[in-house]
Symmetry: C2
Subunit: 312 residues, 2 copies
């Protein structure tokens, strides 16, 4: 039984839209990419460009949904416009620059009765669902998150990431937190945070978090570091009452008691868009702000240490 | 008709407990102060001391409620103990060191079916309710918050306030935000924040916030400054479609269209405890984390500027 595809526009056509969003949309038979809202003059081939949400709306083109791939700082005002147009809305991570803005978007979507998907792409990595099944209902004895990468390799020239509302090392770090909050059977909270901030930057280049909370063991930490060149890793290690689990490569690989488990290799974004289609078909929303709240709490109680200047 | 008083203990017997909580409890005929939980050996006269929640519970003394006047950093673990004992719980402001900890306390209270009051004492200042009535349903044209005081006068020797989880100038600032979120008919969110941090401190000594949000005017700001000596003020000015309003002296005085309005002069804490009694009698809770969320958002997107060293 075939269903009529949902007509979707993307807002913002930067790197992540080009490499992930557009290919995942065009490969999805339930979606038709009908417009690209951008102030620049490049767009996916054959897709009409609108300069703004207002211009797209004025064009009279039929649209069901918009996927927002713009920067977090622009998210609230553009989401308000999209929602006011009556279109379902998907947000790249993080959903907005602040918790308040994210909550305001959630309220607007609820009032307008449109589906809202505040997406966390890392949750759709191949091994995440399997890891969650392993840990369900288990006593947790140790949590160690290591998210270490070379910022010069992954964020060349992206100065905004170092500015306020750019999150710094929490831009990748929130991916780890989005996985941890998804797979762990206990609620982690930030008990203490050390933030290392380059003398010439606003945002941290490294962070060390210690977690607490109900059912959270004393040994529960996260280390995020953007200065790793030789030993990059995106790993979550969990010891539990029944053994151990290691989620590696950002959720792409799973070890159970040190033995690899087959988990498939489909990318994150195709599954992300399938989930968005499901939400729209079911008139449902998926908004979980816990990863972002953990980041805000880390900034709120974080102890800042000024470290070497860093240029990219 | 007289009712049996509720038996209440205070946890923490520092300055605010001594000057505000204990006098307000003892003056309230619906409350009996039955214990003081403190690690020190001073307590209100005639009130038995327990060294911990566990010790109070082991003593077998009948207790209905505990008011937590300890520091925010200790709030979550002690609240968990109090709630697990089945006692209604009141939290001084801010409710916890992090949003996550505050939410965890809220969840624990819900699970244990006890009343939880995350109190914001400034909301009980004499003129706040009247100001809220004036603004209800109005279009807001300007919001200006000025919270300027001499930290050396108000927080002598309180070094914890400058450390992480001490909030810095947001310790008084959150009082302003607790009033603003109570009286305004629109939801303010932090659009931008400038934080001035002394070179020898972790927490800001001054902050300037710019707000946005649905129905929030462009002219919507807050200035918090701890370096004010000559012109201390705790003021919220609001222009609305029908005129202007000024809430002065932290909510103690109200001007409507520049004319003073009579509002009574009962203190904040006696009313706070009457509200807590009402909550317990009605098996209700009052937990509004918006003031704290605004602080967390200000830290999350705040632009930090290092300023002169400051000693107290």
């Amino acid at each position: 039984m075939s269903r009529v595809p949902l007509r979707i526009a993307i807002l913002g056509y930067g790197q992540i839209a080009q490499t992930q969003h557009v290919p995942s949309i065009t490969a999805n038979p339930d979606l038709d990419l009908v417009a690209c809202i951008t102030r620049r003059d490049i767009a996916p081939q054959g897709v009409p460009i609108s300069a703004s949400v207002a211009q797209l709306q004025a064009s009279g083109l039929a649209v069901d949904a918009v996927s927002l791939c713009n920067t977090p700082g622009e998210r609230m005002s553009t989401a308000f416009e999209v929602i006011a147009a009556g279109w379902h809305t998907m947000l790249e991570k993080p959903p907005a620059a602040t918790l308040g803005a994210a909550l305001a978007i959630e309220q607007a979507a609820r009032d307008a009765n449109v589906s809202l998907f505040a997406s966390w792409h890392s949750r759709f990595a191949p091994a995440v669902a399997a890891a969650k099944r392993v840990l369900a209902g288990k006593r947790i004895d140790r949590i160690e998150i290591q998210w270490r990468e070379d910022v010069r390799k992954w964020h060349p020239g992206q100065d905004w990431i170092w500015e306020t509302s750019g999150f710094g090392v929490f831009d990748p770090g929130v991916n780890a937190l989005s996985i941890a909050t998804e797979i762990l059977p206990c609620e982690i909270e930030v008990a203490a945070a050390q933030l290392q901030v380059p003398a010439n930057r606003q945002m941290p280049i490294a962070a060390h978090l210690h977690f607490n909370g109900k059912g959270v063991p004393d040994a529960a930490t996260a280390s995020f570091d953007w200065r790793e060149t030789a030993g990059e890793q995106w790993a979550i290690h969990v010891d539990h009452e029944g053994g151990s689990l290691a989620l590696l490569d950002g959720g792409a690989r799973l070890l159970i008691d040190d033995a690899p488990v087959a988990v498939g290799d489909e990318g994150e974004y195709p599954r992300l868009y399938r989930h968005f289609v499901d939400l729209m078909r079911e008139s449902a929303s998926d908004v979980d702000l816990r990863p972002m709240r953990l980041v805000a709490d880390a900034f709120l109680i974080g102890n800042r240490e000024v470290t070497d200047e860093f240029s990219i």
